[in-house]
Structures are given as C-alpha cells and as structure tokens.
C-alpha cells in the first residue's frame, strides 16, 4: 500500500485522547492532512467544516453525540461525508447511521484498510 498524496483535510472528533491521537496518526499515515477535535461542539465552533473533505466522528461524546453533530451539519446545509466510529456497535446504531446517509459505521478499533477504504471512497465522491 503506497502513500496516497492528498492534501484533502480529514477532520476527526473524539473525546478520548488516546484513540483520537491514534486515529489522527493513522489518517496521516495514509498521506492525508488530519485535524482532531475533542468534541463535536469544538469542531463546529472552530468552523473547520468548510475545509473538511470528510469527518470521522465518535458516536458517544459529551455535549453532542456523533449523530447529533451529523444532524446539525445536515440541518445547516453543511453536510460532509461522515464515518462514524463506535465502541458500542449495534444494529440500531447501524440503521441510524445508514438513514443519516453516513459513509460508514465502524466499530473501534477499526482496521487500517477499512478506514482507508472509507476515506478513499469519500474522496471519490468529492
């Protein structure tokens, strides 16, 4: 697997420091530029939405869940391709992610190839 040279910005929102940093590093190892946020609220607040080619969001975050973040983006007309990551995968969450039009609903820890494939598919959509 060669490095994909791509300047597209991938945004990550996860409240857990360990995993957030790990995902950011992994995304960077794909050759993308990555920026990480400690919550959905922070992501919206810093207004990196326009710059983000896609969003990788944790589902369970304080203040605003991943789903709520996605809904907010859709409601304000700023929808971006989103991959949800969850430590608590279940069918209900999967359905909700599908209905919301998410790119993917992946369980933590996600496999490197899986995550790369989702980001690439997102990039093609862009």
């Amino acid at each position: 697997m060669g490095r994909v040279e791509n300047t597209a910005l991938i945004s990550i929102a996860d409240d857990g420091e360990s995993f957030r940093t790990a995902v950011r590093d992994m995304v960077e190892s794909f050759g993308f530029t990555a920026t990480a946020f400690t919550s959905g609220v922070k992501f919206l607040g810093l207004d990196r939405v326009q710059d983000s080619a896609c969003l990788i969001a944790d589902l369970r975050m304080p203040g605003m869940s991943g789903f709520e973040l996605h809904d907010r983006l859709v409601a304000t007309g700023r929808s971006i391709p989103t991959t949800f990551l969850t430590a608590f995968p279940d069918a209900k969450g999967n359905d909700r992610a599908a209905k919301a039009g998410a790119v993917a609903y992946l369980s933590k820890p996600c496999h490197r190839d899986d995550l790369l494939a989702r980001i690439r598919s997102t990039a093609r959509r862009l």
């Binding site: 060669g2 995993f19 790990a22 995902v23 992994m26 400690t38 304080p62 820890p109």
Partner: protein, 493 residues
C-alpha cells in the same frame, strides 16, 4: 450497704460488716469485760448507738466503772443516750419470761430510734448468764432468727456465753447459730468459724474464681466477636464496593477498551511505517511510543480497579484526596458520558495529604459520586452536572464537597440518610452513605448533607490533614501521578 465495715475493737476480729452476729465464750468476768469494753468503745467512737445487756454476776455498776476507765467521755455519751447499759432481767426477761418476739421487736425499735437520731447504726452485746435450761430451746431459735433479722440492717450483735454454763451440746448450739465464735484458748482469743461459715467462704471463693474465669472467657469471646465484626464490616464494605462497581462494569470496561483501541490503531500505524514502501523510522518510533503510552494507560485503569476490589488490611498512609477523586473519575468517566452527565472539578492546587486508608477513601468518593449520579438520573430539565471541590479548611483540615443537581433531600429524611439500609432508591442497598459515614468516622472526620442551591443535594466532609510532623516525605499518591486518560472536556462542558 453490705460493703460498709465497722471496727469491732477486738483485735482478733478486726473489721466487721453491718449485719454481723457473733458470739463469745468467756471464763472469767475479767475476760468478758476486757472484750466488751473494747467493743463498746469502738462503737461509741464510730457514732453508733450501743446497747449492753449485762447479767449476773456482772452488774451495771461494774460495767460502767470499767467503761469509764477506757472511755474518758463516757458521761457525755451517757447524757445523750449514746449508750445504754441494761440488765438481762429488764431486757430479756421482762415480765419474768423470755419472749422471743418481744425481744426481737425491741431490737428493731432501738434500731429505728437510733437511725432517726442520726446514729450510724446499732451495736449490741448481750450476756446469757441468766439463761436457764427451760429457755434454751427458745433462745436458740431466737439466736437463729437473729441471723436473718440483722441481715441488711445497720446492726451488729455480740452474744456472750459463760463457758461454765455450757455443756458440749450447748456449745454446739451456740456455734451453730452464730456466724462465728470467739473463745479464749491457750491464753489468747481465737476465732472459731462454723463449718457453715467455712463452707460459705469456700463457696464464695469458688464462685469468685468461677466468675473470674467466666469474665476471662467472655472477654475473649467478645474480642473474637468484635474481630469477627470488624472482618464482617470489611467484607460488607468490599461487597458493596463490588456491587457499586458492578453497576458500572460496562463503563469501566470501556475505560480499558479506549486505550486498548488506541494501542491496536497505533500498532497498525507503526507497522505501516516499518514497511518497505513507506519506511519512516522516526514516525514508526513515534507510533510505537504512543502504543506504549496507551498500554500504560490501560494498565493504570486496571490498577485502579484492582485497588478497589482487593481485600486488604486497613493500612494508613498519606493520601492525596485530589488523586483519589481523579482515580475514581477515571473509572466513572464513561458512566457519566453514557448518562449524559458532566463533572465540574474545582480541586485545590495544593492540598495537604490526609492520613488514611486509601481503599476506604476511594470507596468514600466512589459512593458519593455514585450517589450523585443516581440522584441525577431522573432529571430531564437541566444539565446534569456533578460538582466536586476540594479545599483546605481552617488550618489543618481537608474539605471535599460533592454537589449534584438531582431531586434533592427530603427534609423529613435527611437525618437518616447516613443510616445503614436507609435508601430512597428502588434498587439502592442503603449501604452507600452508611459506609461513607463509617469511613469518615474511622478517619476522625465529619460528613454532612445539605440542600444544593437551586437544586439537588450537597455532601461535604472534612478530614484532618496529616500533621506536618507526621508527614512522610515519600511520594504519597502514585495514583495522582498516573492520572491519565480523562478527556480534557470533563471539566469544561
């Protein structure tokens, strides 16, 4: 009353308790006077009312003369009627015959009068030289009855018998009917104890020894029981700790899962940087070091869980309460998140350590935090925020405050919330706050609850800080140093 002793004035007897009824066998008038003068003198000097019944051949005059020699104040005692010397004819044989009931009644009358006049009690001596064969049986009955009559009264009775008038059978009767007897043998006075008295004394000794043995046994049983109770309390505390943790198992598991997910992810990233096509040792090293760091975080969480589930002896060390709070929050973070609750932390920048048992203090915080979480569960109309503060109180106490915005305290029940098995929650054990109180008491602290403003309840406790003189210089709380994976958002939502 039974323990109050009086001087008999008789060397060989020493002190006697009230209720003593004894006898004396004498040979000569001199022997008799010798003893009775001492006996009466001791009574007068002890504020007792004395009654001396004399019988032929001793006369009242002889008794008075002898007494006067020994008691310089005798005239004063006679003037205020502290002593009466009467003849046997007037006392025992009034009306010519011995009437058992009348004589006993007369003793009690004297006793009542003496007691009304403020005397300490009544000391009596009566001679029996007047006694004839025909009255012997009645008199024995009277003597026997006296034992019961004097018991529990401020009354002492010494009966004197002329040896010459007593045959063996009479001596046996006399000895049998008195608590002990005095007789002159080989030139000195001796005490002859009755077999019954000896037996009673032996019995008392035996009972005392038995009692002592039972006290020893009961004491050791009680010590074992209190040891067992302490163990049971420790077990109960541990079980409730496990139950409390059981309620949040999924969340605690997630606390381990989170860094482990990062380990897997970092490991994969590291492998990528080691591949031929993308070899970058610097980035591989960086990913590997994050892997190590995250694995250590997972390890820290497991260490915290272990600290709460181990069965350990109470061990007091310097404990940093800020560290304890962070330890517990590190385990509860996911639970708070799941329940959409946040924590506002205001921990004192510098807090002296408290001298205590770390596991117990962790349980204290675990229980208070769980209590707050459960209190806020039904809340829907306001942000569910738990506030935890620490500060130095006064000069030498640490204060910890836990405030929730839950349903608050029922004023009627607030006094009972720290009682064991008291609960307002359908699934509560009623042990959480009771354990908090017992932990606080074991650490010489105070805990109290008050209404939160505008909502909820506020629990506060103070613990004495370790005095500087007792403070050890070793690092007290590795837990505080190991505090790691609580996201920065926890205090700022």
């Amino acid at each position: 009353m039974a323990t109050e002793t009086r001087k008999t004035g008789i060397d060989v007897v020493g002190d006697m308790p009230w209720g003593t009824h004894f006898c004396l066998f004498y040979d000569t008038k001199e022997d008799l006077l010798d003893m009775l003068i001492s006996y009466c003198k001791a009574g007068l000097e002890s504020e007792e009312f004395c009654l001396w019944v004399v019988a032929e051949p001793l006369t009242i005059e002889e008794a008075l003369d002898a007494l006067k020699d020994a008691v310089p104040d005798l005239d004063r005692y006679l003037a205020d009627c502290s002593i009466e010397i009467v003849s046997a004819c007037d006392w025992y044989l009034l009306g010519g015959t011995f009437d058992l009931k009348r004589v006993t009644g007369a003793w009690h009358e004297k006793l009542a009068r003496a007691s009304a006049k403020g005397y300490a009690g009544v000391r009596v001596t009566g001679d029996t030289a007047w006694l004839e064969k025909k009255d012997w049986k009645d008199f024995c009955e009277y003597e026997e009855g006296l034992n019961e009559a004097v018991a529990n009264q401020h009354l002492a009775v010494l009966c004197t018998y002329p040896l010459a008038a007593c045959g063996a059978a009479e001596i046996l009767d006399v000895v049998r009917t008195h608590q002990f007897a005095l007789a002159r043998r080989h030139g000195s006075w001796d005490i002859i104890e009755t077999a019954g008295l000896k037996q009673a004394k032996a019995e008392i000794k035996r009972l005392n020894e038995g009692l002592e043995q039972r006290v020893v046994e009961r004491t050791s049983q009680l010590m074992l029981a209190s040891e067992a109770l302490r163990e049971a309390q420790a077990d109960l505390a541990r079980v409730t700790r496990l139950m409390t943790m059981g309620q949040v198992t999924a969340s605690i598991a997630h606390e381990i899962f989170q860094p482990l997910s990062a380990v897997v992810t970092n490991g994969n990233t590291c492998l990528h940087w080691l591949e031929d096509g993308s070899l970058d040792l610097g980035k591989a090293r960086s990913a590997a070091s994050r892997t190590v760091r995250d694995a250590e975080r997972a390890n820290d969480i497991i260490r915290r869980i272990r600290a709460l589930i181990i069965r350990s002896e109470t061990q007091k060390v310097d404990v940093d309460m800020n560290g304890v709070i962070r330890d517990i929050l590190a385990l509860m973070h996911s639970e708070l998140l799941k329940r959409q609750m946040s924590v506002s932390l205001a921990l004192a920048a510098t807090l002296p350590p408290v001298f205590g048992d770390r596991v117990q203090l962790q349980q204290l915080m675990l229980n208070l935090i769980m209590n707050g979480i459960e209190a806020m569960a039904p809340v829907a109309d306001r942000p569910k925020e738990l506030t935890i503060e620490t500060r130095v109180e006064g000069t030498d106490h640490v204060l910890v405050l836990v405030r929730d915005v839950g349903e608050g305290l029922d004023p009627d029940k607030v006094d009972r919330i720290f009682d064991p098995f008291f609960t307002t929650k359908p699934e509560g054990t009623g042990m959480g706050l009771a354990i908090c109180r017992s932990v606080i008491e074991a650490h010489d602290g105070c805990i109290w609850a008050s209404p939160g403003v505008p909502h909820g309840a506020m629990f506060q406790f103070t613990l004495p800080a370790t005095a500087v003189s007792q403070r050890t210089y070793s690092q007290s709380s590795s837990a505080a140093a190991g505090f790691a994976d609580v996201p920065e958002t926890i205090g700022s939502i």
